[in-house]
Amino acid sequence: MTRPAPEKDIAEALAGEVEQAFRDRAALCIRGSGSKDFLGREPAGRKLDVSRHRGVISYEPTELVLTARSGTRLSEIRDVLADQGQMLAFEPPAFGDEATLGGTIAAGLSGPRRPYAGSARDFVLGVTMLNGQGESGRFGGEVIKNVAGYDVSRLMAGAMGTLGVLLDVSLKVLPRPEAERTRVFKLSAAAALEKLTTLGRLPIPLSGAAWMEGRLYVRLSGSASGVSAAERELIGEPLAEKEAAGFWTGLREHRLDFFADDRPLWRLGLPPAAPELGLDGKGLIDWGGGQRWLFSALPAETIRDRAAAAGGHATLFRGGDRREAIFHPLSQAMLALHQRVKAALDPAGIFNPGRLYEGL
């Protein structure tokens, strides 16, 4: 257990700033390291810097629970966990060396392991947060099962900081797999999607499945013997350990060559077996088919309509006009409910206004 130095706890100062902003009805732009500044609609308001509120508060490897302040660097958390042979199983993308835990949860992004291990919100056990009046509350806790009160802590994941300031977050962590191996298949996108559907129904230890530029990458994680057995079953070409690690990290962090492109980047969330959408542009399939990246200059409406027709949704992830809609538009009734939920936590509407949706 690490005992943090007291100067790393700036919760009171943050509460003071929020209280002041509430009195002034002044918008706040909650910010960790700024690694996700690119995400969502254009940020607005006075910066509320949470990056100095940092430090791991408690970590019990045998309880599979870690609690850290929101400004703690994601890299520090990864290191602390790796020392004990554990990991954040949702494999969060950092998009920057300084990425913080708070921003990671607020953005709610998950990496290649998501379909097999769960998403950022799935691993949130509890949060301490400031509401829009600067009041501090603790929701959820440090235990894996907890149904006391509404699940406010998981509601924070992916809310892009529009509902509260995260002060600390408790996460469920998992043991690192003993072995990890990647196999590659040369396939067209359509054939890869078909193979992914078959693979998804097999009880084998999958931990990643992505298609890029004519190759399907399948990652297996688990006990050494279990992974070897699954490899024999899958066939395909083995990918050397170093290359494989580079591929999955590059995919997670958008550092593969594929991601060097000037067109707007779209993230499509789809039912994994949805066929190719046939949209003009350059595509990459992740999450066993459930997440598709698309560089395309097509009009937003075309992309959104096609994704929605396939049972999914589309986010303008990078590029484009950030004064327009970025996340998939909500129906009027859903937007109205979102506004009421926001008002319940942030009555003056001061937290990251408009970052998620206009009018929210």
Partner: protein, 505 residues
């Protein structure tokens, strides 16, 4: 339509007088029969009796009327009638809840979802099943078994409880350490809000735009919206599963062994524990032959045959090194099921050794297990009642069962007081008052111990965002601030008064 006079009073604690209740019952019955088929509306007292309690049978109250919609349109119609009349609505799934969440209100309509029990579609390619809320938990796995798929969350009540109720309680099961709770295994739900709007939370993709209202609806105990459709995720059935049973001379060493299994990097599919009292009850009830020791640990590993073989060796080693006096492993599927049967029958087995039992649901950080069990024993002695323990050891969720006799004057109250004291002990070590059974009416007071005024006010504000007039299951799940003030006046622990900032009543 106009609000019915007097109905507001009927939803309050004050017992409404019989004559006005009967008038209301007739009026509400008539309005309901105007919008859904008469066979779906019950108003005769003898028809209402079967619905007067859920699994927490110490609390009973017949509702004003029971409405049994057959489809979503009828749910919308019933809600409209109730909203316009100002009549509260309590939604009921299968009524197996253990905290009184589906306990009717004297002046409220009980919305019984059991007629909406169809599996709408199975999508094997996306590994999803779309079902109506009244579908029973086990029914889903049975319907997809031929595809090599199953629905992972397996509450012990799975033959009876409904999927709508599972979502509303965020139910867990024996396998949730590895496979997660209901919230981790549901892709989307359709709800009807109190304004009659049908909304979808979540999607058939791995996420959905906007706030994670899907997470918020899990465990909301029927207070936010009525769940009318659920899309669950299906998983491939593991090829292989084996269970190890270990006997320990004391609960402390059993608890440490459990921690070491997890510390060693294995994530068991199930990790359960029973204490001496529970072992005796189970052995008496079934022919499972658990060793008569202080604690039995059951650890299941699943996966490919190779994985299971490797992990079994490790688990055995850890258990023996941790002081197990006997370790037995299943050698066939029949043996595996036999070893589990005792654990799965723990509640009925205990039901045989006592005329009544009261099941608690506190969850604690596992490292405090031995201390909390000792504290429970101490409290049991103080209150003069017996307690036996079953325990989802892997995730720290305890089910102390308080044995009592409801026919003896005062024992029900004593059992409830002991239960509350046990939950406070859980909160004191950083745990929670409920891991999977929900707050309902049962744990309203202990919620005051776990949450501050600010946090409770936040819960009420969220409720109001969905249901400003508090029509849906009012009075459940979250205590009013006034109630906590009253409760705080009675409970002072460690010189610390909960909610000192509230005015005393």
């Amino acid at each position: 339509m106009t609000p019915l006079p007097g109905i507001r009073d009927a939803s309050k604690n004050r017992p409404p007088d019989a004559a006005s209740l009967n008038r209301l019952r007739a009026e509400v019955g008539e309005r309901l029969r105007a919008v859904i088929p008469a066979t779906g509306v019950l108003t005769e007292l003898e028809q209402l009796r079967p619905f007067e309690c859920d699994g927490l049978s110490a609390h009973r109250q017949p509702p004003l009327a029971v409405a049994m919609p057959a489809n979503v349109d009828q749910v919308q119609a019933v809600l409209k009638v109730c909203r316009e009349a100002g009549v509260p609505v309590v939604t009921r799934g299968a009524g197996t809840g253990l905290s009184g969440g589906a306990l009717p209100l004297a002046g409220g309509v009980l919305l019984n979802m059991s007629r909406m029990n169809d599996i709408i579609s199975i999508d094997q390619d996306n590994r999803l099943a779309r079902v109506q809320p009244g579908v029973r938990n086990l029914q889903i796995s049975e319907a997809v078994r031929h595809l090599g798929l199953y629905y992972a969350p397996d509450p012990s009540s799975q033959i009876a409880c409904s999927i709508g109720g599972n979502v509303a309680e965020n139910a867990g099961g024996v396998h949730c350490l590895k496979y997660g709770l209901t919230v981790h295994n549901v892709a989307a739900v359709d709800v009807v809000t109190i304004d009659g709007e049908r909304l979808t939370f979540g999607s058939e993709a791995f996420d959905a735009p906007g706030f994670d209202l899907l997470a918020l609806i899990h465990g909301s105990e029927g207070l936010l919206a009525v769940i009318v459709e659920v899309v669950v995720r299906l998983l491939p059935v593991p090829r292989h599963a084996q269970v190890v049973m270990a006997a320990f001379p004391d609960v402390g060493s059993a608890g440490h062994a459990v921690a070491r299994i997890i510390g060693s990097g294995i994530l068991p599919a199930g990790l359960e524990m029973m204490d001496h009292g529970c072992i005796l009850a189970v052995n008496d009830y079934l022919d499972v032959g658990y060793p008569e020791c202080e604690a039995v640990v059951l650890c299941e590993v699943d996966g490919t045959a190779e994985e299971v073989a490797d992990q079994l060796v490790q688990v055995r080693d850890v258990l023996l090194a941790g002081g197990a006096t006997e370790v037995r492993e299943s050698r066939s599927e029949a043996e595996r099921l036999a070893l589990w049967s005792g654990r799965k029958a723990a509640f009925p087995a205990v039901g045989r050794i006592a005329s009544d039992y009261y099941c608690m649901d506190g969850t604690i950080p596992r490292r405090h297990l031995a201390d909390v069990l000792a504290e429970i024993q101490r409290l049991a002695n103080t209150y003069g009642l017996r307690v036996v323990n079953v325990f989802h050891a892997g995730d720290g969720n305890m089910h102390p069962l308080i044995l009592y006799d409801a026919n003896l004057a005062g024992q029900t109250e004593t059992a409830e007081a002991l239960g509350a004291a046990i939950l406070e002990a859980c909160v004191a070590v950083g745990g929670t008052v409920t891991g999977e059974h929900g707050v309902g009416v049962e744990k309203l007071d202990t919620m005051c111990v776990q949450f501050s005024t600010i946090e409770l006010a936040q819960f009420h504000a969220l409720k109001a965002a969905f249901d400003p007039e508090a029509i849906l299951n009012p009075g459940k799940a979250v205590p009013t601030l006034a109630r906590c003030a009253e409760f705080g006046a009675m409970h002072v622990h460690g010189g610390r008064l909960p909610h000192p900032e509230l005015e005393r009543f």
